[in-house]
């Protein structure tokens, strides 16, 4: 045991390298859960084809059980009716987990400002990467995926206290369409 105490410094060195190794391994083994609700799903499928080849980034294998996935792709408009389902799917995923908002509808609600639509999924669950576009091009998606990989490799994880909003401050501008009329 005395030799163990003498090697504490090397153990510390090992711990940091382990984090880096874990991040490197995780970022190339993204098991994604596609929560596809709307037309963005077509572009999501286009991204998964061999032409764009999502598998280059280790994200080619979707898991259709949230318990086996670690990245939640929310693709398409989320209505108030399905919002509890999305929250439940997110809660069922095991840590560590990340969330990608795919398309403007998931980022901000898009042009749907009505009784039925959630104005951005970040009002319900924390979001790591926003991919805007209606729908986003596959290149745009891959760009977001690379940014997510960087985030995973750094070990960054969304830690939002329960009850507070995960929405970035940029999105908190008041929405007043009446001024245009």
């Amino acid at each position: 045991m005395s030799s163990f105490g003498a090697d504490l410094s090397s153990l510390n060195w090992m711990a940091t390298r382990l984090d880096a190794a874990l991040g490197w391994a995780r970022k190339f083994s993204i098991f994604q859960y596609p929560f596809v609700t709307a037309c963005c799903g077509m572009e999501y499928m286009a991204t998964a084809t061999s032409h764009y080849d999502m598998d280059r980034f280790g994200a080619g294998f979707p898991r259709f059980s949230p318990r086996q996935a670690d990245v939640l792709f929310v693709v398409g408009t989320v209505s108030h009716k399905i919002a509890p389902v999305l929250k439940r799917v997110y809660d069922q995923m095991t840590e560590p987990k990340w969330v990608v908002a795919f398309g403007v509808c998931t980022c901000t609600g898009g042009f749907y400002d009505n009784y039925a639509t959630v104005r951005g999924i970040d009002t319900i669950i924390p979001v790591d990467i926003y991919i805007p576009g209606c729908p986003p091009r596959p290149e745009n998606v891959l760009d977001g995926l690379i940014k997510l990989q960087e985030k995973i490799a750094q070990g960054a994880r969304v830690t939002v206290p329960q009850g507070s909003s995960a929405r970035p401050a940029d999105f908190e501008t008041p929405h007043t369409p009446e001024t245009h009329l």
Binding site: H80, N114, L181
Partner: protein
């Protein structure tokens, strides 16, 4: 069915059969429309389905229109003289493009619209049933056309029209606990009723 009966327009045949129920009818580019009172609607629907000259075996669509603010200028709504940064396709249109409805908008708030198709005779008929706001209920035709079941649930959900005799009249699009009927013109535009999350 002989050919001379084929030549008689559908709206004329309906008019001759139910003169006491038909309010008005018109024809535009081969599209025939008949307006009928609610009291005679179920009888006419049975006739449309079972009469060999009609034989409407397919209810293509059922919808509803709320005429609460139709043709009325709102004080807050934009006019042609309001300076507007909107593009041309979003600018308000002049009121000359409105059309007449054949019944009073003040008396009859809703129109329930049925689109019938006969795959035997390959003809179509549109039936409109005006409804007053105070008594916004209409007999269900889900016993005649099974497809009316979900159409009528959708209209109940969106407009709050009650279909008497419907086997399962509950919301189909919105969730249980949603208050009001969102496609009514007096539903507040800004009203939000989320199940979870903030009201935004």
């Amino acid at each position: 069915m002989d050919s001379e009966q084929q030549a008689v327009p559908l709206i004329m045949r309906v008019q001759q059969r139910f003169p006491q129920w038909v309010i008005a009818s018109h024809q535009y580019r081969g599209q025939e429309t008949v307006l009928i009172h609610r009291e005679g609607f179920l009888e006419m629907a049975q006739f449309l389905r079972d009469d060999p000259g009609m034989a409407f075996d397919f209810l293509m669509d059922t919808s509803c229109v709320d005429y609460l603010k139709f043709g009325k200028i709102q004080s807050s709504s934009p006019t042609l003289t309001t300076p507007s940064p909107l593009p041309y396709y979003m600018k308000p249109k002049p009121l000359t493009q409105t059309w007449t409805r054949l019944v009073s908008n003040d008396e009859y708030r809703f129109d329930v619209v049925y689109h019938f198709y006969s795959s035997i005779h390959n003809h179509r008929l549109r039936v409109k049933v005006p409804l007053r706001a105070a008594e916004s209920n209409i007999p269900s035709v889900s016993g005649l056309w099974a497809t009316a079941n979900w159409f009528e649930r959708e209209i109940w959900d969106m407009f709050g029209i009650r279909f008497t005799g419907h086997p399962n009249l509950k919301r189909i699009l919105m969730y249980e606990g949603f208050e009001g009927h969102p496609l009514r013109k007096d539903y507040p535009v800004r009203k939000r009723q989320p199940l979870i999350g903030p009201v935004n």
